[in-house]
């Protein structure tokens, strides 16, 4: 069975590989040092996984907002998303 019907493209393949690798990284991180639930600037008790999820979800919304409200290159949105991901992971 081929995968033609999935219409893979290089950008989407890179995208999903990145997500997959990040999830693997989270797993390894968890095995090396288990997460502790804490409360950050998000005001809700979060584990590392919750913050990761919020980081990715926020990144998706940042990209959508970037497309919807600006005509600038999407790369700036991506940079902003990475910054958001780091901020949420560290202080969220």
């Amino acid at each position: 069975m081929g995968l033609e019907w999935m219409y893979w493209t290089k950008p989407t393949a890179i995208f999903f590989t990145t997500i997959f690798l990040m999830l693997c990284g989270m797993l390894v991180w968890e095995l090396v040092s288990p997460t502790i639930e804490r409360r950050g600037f998000l005001m809700i008790p979060t584990t590392r996984g919750t913050r990761f999820f919020l980081g990715l979800l926020g990144s998706a919304y940042i990209h959508l907002a970037w497309l919807g409200f600006t005509d600038l290159a999407l790369w700036y949105g991506t940079i902003l998303s990475v910054a958001w991901l780091i901020i949420v992971m560290r202080w969220g």
Partner: protein, 293 residues
């Protein structure tokens, strides 16, 4: 007793994971692939980048459908959750009445969804339907009732159908939550001379939080993704006044065959559902947690 150090039980989750992978993750990946391409036919696709996302984000029909969807889901939650709790409180606690009311409540839940739409078409028809003929014979309305005649009538019919169909689920969940409260809590409340309202507010409601979380999440997601019932009942009309997100999405994908835009649309849709489900889940999980420290 020592904690069992072996975590191999996690492998038992594997079948569920594989099923989710095939029914959820692979289709989702395909949709992401679609959303970045213009697909003309099998094997003929052109990479277009984020063009569809830009187009969909500026699409006024999508905006209208989105607000309609929020209004609908909001109304559904506002009606079904309190009504479900009320029904659960009023249900008998022992005796033959328990089974009887459980069976009656479960009836709407086992009917196929498009059949529900058809039932309500017949029920509200102004020429033969019980409700349609009944309300029109009262001669109260300026425009005779017909769910295809006015947007308001279509909405009332849709909401009535949705409430009839799904309030029993909320009621059953709430009832299960109520049954799980130990009798000692009520005895303590009685000793303290608590009123029925105080008992509800400080014992029953907090104890039902878990099941109500599930009820709110299920009803939110299901009503946000509703398709079969409005498709059967109104088909999105009159005009576009009951065209919810999924109805518009299906029009886009299967009738106009705009796979790219439809895929971009579904991803935006997916993100909205994800965000709201997370927010509801967190809100219900943390409610009252702060008070007790």
């Amino acid at each position: 007793m020592d904690k069992w150090p072996d975590n191999r039980a996690w492998f038992l989750v594997l079948p569920a994971f594989i099923i989710v992978a095939f029914s959820g993750i692979i289709p989702l990946m395909t949709v992401v692939n679609y959303s970045l391409q213009d697909i003309f036919g099998p094997g003929e696709a052109v990479f277009v980048g984020t063009e569809w996302f830009k187009e969909m984000l500026g699409n006024y029909r999508l905006h209208a459908a989105l607000w309609r969807q929020f209004l609908f889901s909001g109304l559904v939650l506002l009606i079904e959750i309190p009504l479900g709790i009320l029904i659960a409180l009023a249900m008998p606690k022992r005796g033959w009445g328990v089974s009887a009311s459980l069976v009656i409540l479960a009836l709407p839940l086992v009917i196929p969804w498009n059949v529900i739409g058809t039932i309500w078409i017949v029920f509200t028809r102004p020429d033969i339907g019980l409700f349609g003929v009944g309300i029109n014979s009262l001669d109260l309305l300026e425009v005779p009732f017909d769910h295809t005649a006015k947007p308001l009538y279509a909405w009332i019919t849709l909401l009535a159908m949705e409430v009839w169909h799904w309030t029993p689920l909320v009621a059953l969940l709430a009832y299960a939550g109520l049954r799980a409260i130990p009798e000692a809590y009520y005895q303590a409340a009685k000793i303290d001379g608590a009123s029925a309202w105080a008992t509800f507010l400080y014992i029953q409601l907090p104890k039902m939080r878990g099941v109500l979380t599930i009820a709110v999440l299920l009803r939110w997601m299901d009503s946000f993704l509703i398709y079969a019932e409005p498709f059967a009942l109104t088909g999105g009309g009159p005009g576009n006044t009951t065209t919810f997100l999924s109805i518009y999405l299906v029009k886009l994908a299967t009738m106009q065959f705009d796979l790219g835009p439809a895929a971009a649309f579904s991803l935006i849709y997916f993100l909205i559902v994800l965000l709201f489900s997370f927010a509801f889940y967190q809100a219900l999980l943390n409610v009252g947690r702060g008070e007790k420290g």
